[in-house]
């Protein structure tokens, strides 16, 4: 299935349909069988998953979150996870997680809604929220897809997640997406030049770090978030561009960025990078992710607040 709707979000309606339509059609006919994943579809799906997770966590802190909205987002997350399970992406991810401490088959959305039960009983049961498999997602993603450079959409970079900081199991569900912020922040500082290239390069770093033997870092329990994020400063040479993929994205309409500016209504910069997205999303709530240190120190507090909020 490559639904028209999901495709168009990244470009003008007509433009990409042609190049990807065939693959999409082929995929749509066999829902049950593992799909031939187009990279772009996987990336888009991944970014949608990430976006949804952020939304679930950045609930309004003072007022009770809108239950309808939360349920709809959680259902979207479930859908994506189900699809990823069907096409095998999820399995890859869970295998990668095997070494980590978290059970892989627990659906994230379950986690969120689980907390809507009495937090007291949850605490009683000694239940600590299982960390969301952000690590696995990233690693799984990398093993599946080739990261593209060049005229790459924002969403590509958004989907590369930095690993969960292992030292905070109770906050780890939240730590995942929030871990994205600091990762991108540092990248932004390090990089210069065009946003896309930077993000592209840095996302390479994020991923290749994991691949290149720093994978151990991801699993070390004692590793703090800072230490983990710090490793991403080391730049690695960018892999040669895949001409086929480049061609795929060559006609991507950059007006998408402008559309987003209009739509979100709160972007000051003309282009929306992953950092901007996080910022824009967090501006919904009273807290702003201004720095990685603030982020990390707030995680426990955030977790506490989350417990209270979904404790209804």
């Amino acid at each position: 299935m490559f639904p028209k709707g999901t495709k168009r979000k990244f470009s003008d309606s007509g433009e990409e349909a042609g190049s990807n339509g065939d693959q999409g059609q082929a995929a749509s006919t066999s829902v049950a069988a593992p799909r031939t994943l187009t990279s772009s579809y996987s990336l888009q799906r991944q970014s949608l998953l990430d976006m949804s997770l952020i939304k679930l966590q950045l609930c309004h802190m003072l007022v009770e979150p809108n239950l309808c909205r939360s349920v709809l987002i959680a259902n979207t997350v479930r859908q994506i996870q189900e699809e990823m399970t069907q096409d095998g992406t999820w399995q890859i991810m869970t295998q990668a997680l095997a070494a980590a401490q978290c059970p892989s088959d627990r659906l994230v959305a379950t986690e969120v809604l689980c907390r809507q039960t009495d937090p007291a009983t949850a605490a009683q049961a000694g239940q600590s929220p299982k960390p969301f498999s952000v690590v696995g997602l990233e690693e799984g993603y990398h093993s599946e897809e080739v990261v593209m450079e060049g005229e790459v959409e924002t969403e590509v970079t958004m989907s590369t997640l930095s690993p969960v900081s292992q030292q905070m199991p109770s906050a780890s569900y939240l730590a995942g997406p929030f871990g994205m912020g600091p990762c991108w922040e540092e990248e932004d500082e390090d990089g210069d030049g065009e946003d896309e290239d930077d993000d592209e390069e840095d996302s390479e770093e994020c991923v290749s770090e994991g691949e290149e033997g720093d994978r151990d870092h991801l699993r070390a329990d004692s590793r703090t978030g800072e230490q983990v994020f710090g490793t991403f400063e080391i730049k690695h040479p960018v892999p040669p561009a895949d001409p086929a993929l480049e061609e795929l994205f060559s006609d991507v309409d950059p007006s998408y960025y402008d559309l987003d500016t209009v739509l979100t209504g709160m972007q000051s910069s003309p282009k929306m990078g992953p950092y901007d997205l996080l910022e824009s999303l967090s501006s919904h709530g009273p807290t702003t992710l201004s720095s990685s240190s603030t982020c990390r120190s707030d995680l426990n507090e955030l977790d506490h607040i989350m417990e209270i909020i979904v404790g209804s």
Binding site: K4, G5, K9, R45, V71, A74, N75, Q79
Partner: protein, 438 residues
Amino acid sequence: HLLPGPGGDMQWCFSQVKGAIDDDVAEADIISTVEFNQTGELLATGDKGGRNKNQPQFRSEYNVYSTFQSHEPEFDYLKSLEIEEKINKIRWLPQKNAAHFLLSTNDKTIKLWKISERDKRPDGYNLKEDDGRYKDPNSITSLRVPVLIPMDLMVEASPRRVFANAHTYHINSISVNSDNETYLSADDLRINLWHLEITDRSFNIVDIKPANMEDLTEVITAAEFHPLQCNTFVYSSSKGTIRLCDMRNAALCDKHSKLFEEPEDPSNRSFFSEIISSISDVKFSHNGRYMMTRDYLSVKIWDLNMETRPVETYQVHEYLRSKLCSLYENDCIFDKFECCWNGDDSVVMTGSYNNFFRMFDRGQHRDVTLEASRENSKPLQVLKPRKVCAGGKRKKDEISVDSLDFNKKILHTAWHPQDNIIAVATTNNLYIFQDKVN
């Protein structure tokens, strides 16, 4: 093109606008609900600040009649959360005497308000002075009958009932029964039935809360009593279904009598399908034969006798279908638009973005897009139909999708029960338009 009506084409013109002119919108002034009473004589608006404004019609104009603070912000100490004072819904009760009654609700508490006029006061008490002090009995030499003398019109709003502590989740709907004795209130997971006279208890008639909240995948989004059959009500869900329930069947109406659901169009399937199918409003037609539902992209009219699909579907802003991901990102996809019928159920209306609102004439199969803006606010200025260009070459006077302002949304609209007068709420302004013929 114009929307034809009885006696020629309907031309909507500007009548009034209420609210601050500047763009700096105070949070408290955001209009959260608009409702005409049964005669159209009064128009009520609720806002985020918990205030309720009533405006009577006088010579085709609505002027503020009374403003009162319906709800105050509260704090739930158990959950350490604020309870907003924002008024979610207002429903007028049918008028029985000189006073007007309305139900006003925030997320947790429903209040019955009595709005009455006082334009006379008693004068000439025997035992009391004008200022209320008691007279010295010895000074009273004669007996007189007190009389009512005119005074400046005073409108009083007094809370008569407070229906509290019956909802764990956020109330999204209230609906007065045709029996004029009971009403329902619906939150995300439950619907309660109240008697207007009794505040200390309510009957739970629908409960969709799963035993394990982990299994929660669907919530109630709106509910309404049938306008004529006092035993019938409907409620809509976030999965795009509408359930019609008959209270005579069982005390707990978890089992629906009818389930209205349109099968999904497989060619339009995406990760956003469920979200855009979520119904944000459900309204019975005045004659009780149809009901209208609003989901993110369309308005559907259902015949109560046919559960399998709607009899009519109107696209409100189909050009947004290709932008769903962005709209998901900025949360606009969760906006809850309302919809309304005109007096004779021939036209339906709903809001959109960029301060546009849409009308669909069911009989004539025509629709029009109009805009509520300060620029088009000269007295009796006729509203020019607007057009959104979905793609390709943009014609003159058309607006391209990318230029739409998604912060300017019209969520609440109301149509006068008898005349062609409509009230349209932008973020913090209330526009009143009327048909030129009027």
